[in-house]
């Protein structure tokens, strides 16, 4: 299919996952991700070996993913913010069991039941490890329906290479909007999984998938090994795209749906002669800290823009480490910032009205 078709972010994500070789889907309905599951429910029963299962809850769904992943399958689940909270324990187990899988969070506004409009207020839970014990997820933040597709492939492949769970951090805007997309001619890279618990068939020793280590020293060693992989991932796989950064004196840092609005604001600011560019983290963990650090040396100021009260801005500040002032602008509750609002913040920054 090389013709461009219009697709919703949610549906494109589902189709991309199938093309990336993931035919095991376990979910539980929640707005605004429902189209993703509905798409899977239509497609998977028609595919040999395809499993679409609506679990009784998010807790159950993530544990089905745990089982499916433990057996060596490419497996995924999708949900939205409150549902991701319920998956926290399971995700921590998946991470602690060194299993790869894909978790999609089509974020909505919180906390609590909140609302169903777009949000980016799950940045912290996503990047600081959803659940206890400090494990990490690979977190991808596409900003267009096309990029959703591309990152789904990356997510599965890196997840399996490093045996860690991956997350696509989407939001209601990206999930619900339609854009023209082309599905790439990309054959999924499938690794051998000699560790999988799928029956030893009298051909190998038994495999155990487990996260329990009652001996503290053993557990520490497990954690250490994992941290080494984390360091490697941080080294190799952080990603950010830049726009108008070559001569920039100021930068907006923004990801996902919000970064599109920020892009419009930057165009408007440039028209007013402000030398501002955009740094858009594509991976949220690993966060593109080095890139931002390097850039920040030559900047007069940074404006982080999020649909939250300020979460990614922590990582920006950590990256910048005092090199230049870091400002923040955010909208919450499901409100999408407008280009004009962002422009006005950029203007304030360039005039020195905010530090």
């Amino acid at each position: 299919m090389s013709e461009k078709i219009l697709m919703k972010g949610n549906e494109a994500l589902a189709e991309a996952a199938i093309r990336a070789g993931c035919i095991r889907f376990f979910g539980y309905p929640i707005t605004p991700q429902t189209e993703l599951a509905a798409y899977m429910a239509k497609r998977l029963p028609k595919i040999e070996g395809g499993v679409y299962l609506q679990a009784e809850s998010e807790v159950s769904a993530i544990n089905m993913v745990l089982g499916s992943a433990a057996s060596g399958a490419r497996a995924m689940t999708s949900s939205s913010s409150p549902g991701i909270s319920l998956k926290a324990e399971g995700i921590s187990y998946i991470a602690g069991s060194d299993l790869p899988c894909l978790i999609v969070n089509v974020q909505r506004a919180g906390p609590g039941l909140g609302g169903i409009q777009p949000s980016q207020a799950d940045y912290w839970v996503s990047t600081r490890g959803v659940g206890h014990g400090g494990a990490r997820l690979l977190v991808f933040a596409p900003n267009s329906v096309q990029e959703v597709i591309d990152l789904v492939f990356d997510a599965f492949e890196l997840a399996e290479k490093y045996r860690i769970p991956a997350m696509i951090l989407s939001d209601g805007l990206l999930g619900q909007m339609m854009e023209p997309v082309v599905f790439p001619d990309r054959a999924p890279v499938l690794l051998e999984k000699p560790w999988a618990a799928n029956g030893h068939r009298d051909k190998r020793n038994k495999n155990i998938i487990n996260s329990l280590y009652l001996q503290a020293s053993e557990l520490e060693e497990k954690v250490r090994q994992r941290e080494l992989r984390y360091r490697e991932i941080e080294e190799k796989h952080s990603k950010a795209s830049e726009y108008m950064m070559d001569d920039a004196e100021y930068a907006v840092v923004s990801y996902g749906a919000t970064s599109r609005v920020a892009g419009s604001a930057i165009d408007a600011a440039r028209e007013k002669g402000i030398r501002v560019g955009l740094i858009r983290p594509v991976t949220l963990w690993p966060f593109p800290s080095k890139q931002i650090f390097e850039k920040s040396k030559n900047l007069k100021g940074i404006l982080a823009v999020e649909m939250s009260s300020g979460q990614m801005v922590d990582d920006v500040r950590l990256a910048v480490n005092g090199n230049c002032p870091v400002n923040f602008f955010g909208r919450t509750g499901g409100i999408i910032p407008t280009p004009m609002e962002i422009l006005s913040e950029i203007e304030k920054m360039s005039k020195g009205d905010i530090k």
Binding site: R24, F26, G49, V51, L53, A55, E56, S57, V59, S60, A61, N63, M64, V65, L66, G67, S68, A69, A70, S71, G72, A73, A75, E89, G90, Y93, S97, A197, N198, G199, H200, R201, D202, K203, K206, N207, I208, I209, N210, S211, L212
Partner: protein, 251 residues
């Protein structure tokens, strides 16, 4: 002389960490015997719960996965659906299966998920040091019912087999005990039948094994067996609650 009794092949050589006289050990062996007899070790995947049997993955020779507390049936579902010819069993305590895991249990059952659940009902949370379980009897003293379980405050004990028998998904449900040689033999038969139910694709199977926790009951292993017989079996009557074979013959 001929060896008439030895360790089943699918049980590993690792000594268990269970307390002296804990019936977890007996049931482990029965499961392994069933796996041996059915010749399914190579395609069997077991799910260890959170509870005293959390380390069950060390004791069986088939592939094993350790599940979060209560979620073994969901984990089993994920595996069973992904590896079509697998034989999947969970091994769960009463806290795991009937408290935190209630939803996973009920829904695996109603889905007729083609897995086998070995359910160890010892009326207590063994691993965490003896708190009330959903199956703790009225009046029973535990760490969290220090004055005896008062149903009007702490609720009534659940009869899991009876409850699940109301659903359409189960193919085989039986309650057994392991307090006497005769009961142990019956338990073995039931466990094997549960695996056969799965192999034949007849749906969800569950064997509730009335068991002891000498340590947290504060009884010697022998006295625990007597307590089980005198207190638990009256509340949890042994018997078959669902049997696909009978239904097929009747229907």
């Amino acid at each position: 002389m001929k060896t008439v009794f030895q360790k089943p092949r699918s049980l590993s050589d690792t000594p268990t960490h269970y307390c002296p006289g804990c019936t977890h050990g007996i049931v482990h062996r029965l499961v392994a015997e069933a796996i041996d007899e059915l010749g399914i070790e190579g395609r069997t995947i077991g799910i260890a719960p959170v509870g005293c049997s959390v380390s069950a993955y060390n004791y069986f020779n088939n592939d094993m996965v350790q599940a979060p507390h209560g979620r073994a049936p969901a984990v089993a579902t994920g595996i069973k659906r992904s590896v079509k010819d697998s034989v999947v069993f969970t091994y769960q305590g009463d806290g795991d299966l009937a408290a935190i895991g209630t939803a996973e249990t009920v829904h695996a059952a109603t889905r007729g998920e083609n897995i086998t659940v070995i359910f160890i009902n010892n009326a207590i949370y063994g691993m965490t040091g003896g708190q009330m379980a959903p199956t703790t009897l009225e009046g029973q003293v535990t760490q969290t019912t220090p004055y005896g379980r008062d149903a009007s405050i702490a609720g009534n004990p659940i009869r899991v087999s009876e409850m699940l028998a109301t659903l359409d998904g189960p193919g085989y449900i039986e309650r057994v005990a392991v307090d006497s040689p005769a009961h142990v033999r019956a338990a073995k038969k039931a466990i094997k039948k549960a695996f056969e139910t799965q192999i034949k694709g007849k749906g969800f199977s569950l064997i509730e094994v009335i068991s002891t926790c000498p340590t947290n009951w504060g009884l010697s292993p022998g006295d625990a067996m007597v307590w089980l017989r005198e207190n638990m079996i009256p509340h949890y009557p042994l018997g078959v609650f669902v049997d696909w074979e009978k239904e097929e013959n009747d229907g």
